[in-house]
């Protein structure tokens, strides 16, 4: 090894090429082009698309899910997954609704939502990091467990009567058409972007995802990082539960049903490798916008929901397959 090579900054597996080429060939650019195309197609297809209020309403299609997706992205990059996020929403929402019956006010409800989210995250985290169980198995179990508790508490009943100040967290506007949820979306995108891409913690997440053994030998406390990631995912699910409960104004045990798959879809569409080790928050942000625009745009054309699911599925497979196809063709 020559001296020049030794002093060069170390390359990580997600940074093997130069900056310009990296951007040109990046997933994010491809996704961004798709987003722009969908936006243009939407404006052409429906006269109602380009209306600030309509677009503002449409952001609810993705804001809550994407908040969880940011934390989920980190978790998946580290090589783990949490499929219990929708179950956590149900349990956190049920806990808040239950507390509401005893006259707990908005600050108390928010605290309960966050606490339940953290506790659920901690439960998953302990099972995965302390007992060494595979996260996919653990969280498939807790997915049913958390929602099951909601079903036991509520049955076919509902909690409602949330105060207006609580409803504001899910429906309120900060400024003009900018909703509180959209503001949270932007704030969390920035926070998670900085954490993943600009801090040591973020580098540790990538390292663990690429090679947990090497990460351990380089002195990274793998279990601790994973525990923090599970706590974060739980916390974000708690925040999503607060927003969603406020928006719906009621809690039923079927709340946020099957959202875990939509969150994972968002993360994977955002270019995060499902095998861990690669991905970016920018990708997840664009993926959230793409999914939101597709859902809203097709909704405006009254395309049945099942066609939307097919469209998103095709998009996912297409976007994943395209770069691989290109590389394969190039190698020939």
């Amino acid at each position: 090894m020559s001296l020049a090579e030794g002093t060069r900054p170390r390359n990580f597996p997600d940074r093997l090429t130069g900056r310009g080429q990296r951007i040109l060939r990046s997933w994010e650019l491809l996704l961004f082009v798709i987003a722009v195309l969908i936006f243009i197609a939407n404006t052409q297809a429906s006269p109602y698309f380009l209306d600030p209020w309509n677009l503002s309403d449409a952001t609810f299609n993705f804001t809550e899910k994407s908040m969880i997706a940011f934390a989920m992205a980190l978790l998946i990059i580290s090589g783990e997954i949490d499929l219990s996020v929708a179950g956590i929403i149900a349990l956190a929402s049920t806990a808040m609704g239950w507390a509401l019956q005893f006259g707990v006010g908005t600050p108390g409800l928010v605290a309960i939502g966050l606490a339940v989210g953290l506790l659920c995250g901690a439960f998953n985290g302990v099972l995965v990091t302390r007992l060494g169980l595979p996260s996919i198995v653990v969280t498939i179990g807790t997915m049913s467990l958390f929602r099951g508790i909601s079903y036991i508490v509520l049955g076919d009943q509902a909690f409602n009567g949330y105060p207006d100040s609580f409803a504001w967290l899910g429906r309120g506007y900060v400024f003009w058409v900018i909703t509180f949820e959209l503001t949270l979306f932007v704030v969390f995108a920035l926070i998670y972007g900085v954490v993943l891409h600009k801090t040591n913690f973020g580098r540790h997440v990538y390292t663990i995802g690429n090679n947990p053994v090497a990460a351990r030998f380089s002195g990274i406390r793998v279990e601790r990082v994973k525990m923090i990631l599970f706590l974060l995912t739980g916390l974000m699910s708690g925040i999503a539960a607060i927003c969603l409960t406020g928006r719906l104004g009621s809690t039923r045990p079927s709340i946020a049903y099957a959202w875990e798959l939509e969150v994972v879809t968002m993360v994977v569409l955002g270019g995060v490798s499902i095998l861990g080790g690669a991905g970016s928050i920018l990708g997840v942000v664009i993926a959230a916008l793409v999914i939101g625009m597709v859902t809203f745009g097709l909704g405006l054309l009254n395309v049945p929901g099942i066609v939307m699911s097919i469209f998103i599925g095709a998009l996912l497979i297409g976007v994943i397959a395209l770069p691989r196809l290109v590389t394969k063709l190039r190698r020939r």
Partner: protein
């Protein structure tokens, strides 16, 4: 963007792509929101709504709904309908409370909102159209049995659980009109708990205890199927007629074997038709949703709103061998 340009874009591009979105803006656009798509009941209701639209003229039905029966999915649908500025939203709600904020927003933006089939809390809609009322159901179930007993006879009731509010109310309503049928005697009321095996055993027990039994009335879709099976297995087809409330798809076999001569349930086609008629009347200000208001519903007559702005469409529709084949594939 000027109106003409919007029109040009709408007609030139959207129409070529999707056809319906930017159709003549002055037609009345009624959105029929189902609990979920791909359900025969709602598909049939949509057909009824289309029939009403044809009759009314210049009316467009937008039949839509989420893929799965969730409130979140319906809210996304409602938001896109608000964005399209439809004239009316008629929804069968997955959750009576969770869709309220979204529907209130729709009403604030001048959209007529009604619920049908599965209702929405009063603050989230202008009126609710129930397929039938307790009173009409109670009258129908005894009439179904009496129609095939011109000489009178013994009938028994096979209900769901003893605490089922719906069934208890219907049976109470039935008892109120029993004086119109002096020759018919209700000999027993038993409870199958809406479990197929328990209902089956209760029906067997009825036939053993009352050998002269002429009819079993089961105002529950589980009980009626089990009772028909019990009658068939006891070779009492022709002696004991099973009737009540059931689903055509599940009852087709019993009608074919003769264990059940007729039964009733709401007709989804009529329900969709009536819903569209009411939505049109309210959206065009031909009628106002207020207690006591009477709204014309075309071939279905008219409905009258009660103090909660609820209305009942009609008595349940009777299904027998003449129409079962048509409906058994629907729901």
């Amino acid at each position: 963007m000027t109106l003409t340009r919007r029109f040009a874009i709408g007609l030139g591009l959207a129409a070529s792509l999707m056809g319906t979105t930017a159709m003549a803006q002055d037609s009345v656009r009624i959105a029929l929101v189902a609990k979920s798509l791909g359900n025969g009941f709602f598909e049939a209701a949509a057909r009824g709504a289309e029939e009403a639209a044809e009759e009314l003229g210049n009316t467009e039905i937008i039949y839509t709904g989420p893929t799965s029966t969730t409130a979140e999915g319906q809210i996304e649908v409602i938001n896109s309908l608000i964005a399209q500025r439809v004239d009316a939203i008629a929804i069968s709600a997955n959750d009576p409370d969770a869709v309220v904020p979204a529907l209130q927003k729709a009403m604030q933006r001048g959209i007529t909102v009604i619920s049908w089939d599965s209702g929405v809390a009063p603050e989230g809609r202008e009126m609710h159209l129930a397929p039938s009322s307790d009173e009409l159901i109670g009258r129908t179930i005894i009439k179904l049995a009496a129609d095939h007993l011109p000489e009178g006879g013994e009938v028994a009731v096979l209900s769901a659980t003893s605490t089922s509010t719906n069934q208890n109310t219907w049976i109470a309503e039935m008892e109120k009109v029993m004086d119109q049928y002096p020759d018919i005697e209700v000999v027993a009321t038993v409870y199958g708990d809406d479990l197929a095996d328990k209902s089956y055993r209760e029906a067997q027990g009825l036939m053993q205890t009352y050998p002269d039994l002429d009819a079993i009335i089961a105002p529950t879709s589980v009980g009626i199927v089990a009772a028909a099976q019990a009658v068939q297995d006891a070779s009492k087809v022709g002696q004991v007629n099973v009737t009540g409330l059931g689903l055509p798809s599940e009852m087709a076999g019993a009608i074919e074997s003769g264990a059940s001569k007729s039964f009733a349930i709401w007709n989804p086609v009529d329900l969709g038709y009536t819903t569209a008629m009411i939505a049109h009347a309210l959206a065009t200000d031909e009628a106002t949703a207020e207690p006591g208001a009477e709204i014309d519903t075309g071939r279905m007559g008219s409905v009258t709103l009660d103090e909660d702005n609820q209305a009942a469409m009609s008595e349940p529709f009777t299904y027998d061998e003449s129409n079962i084949d048509e409906f058994k594939s629907i729901f």
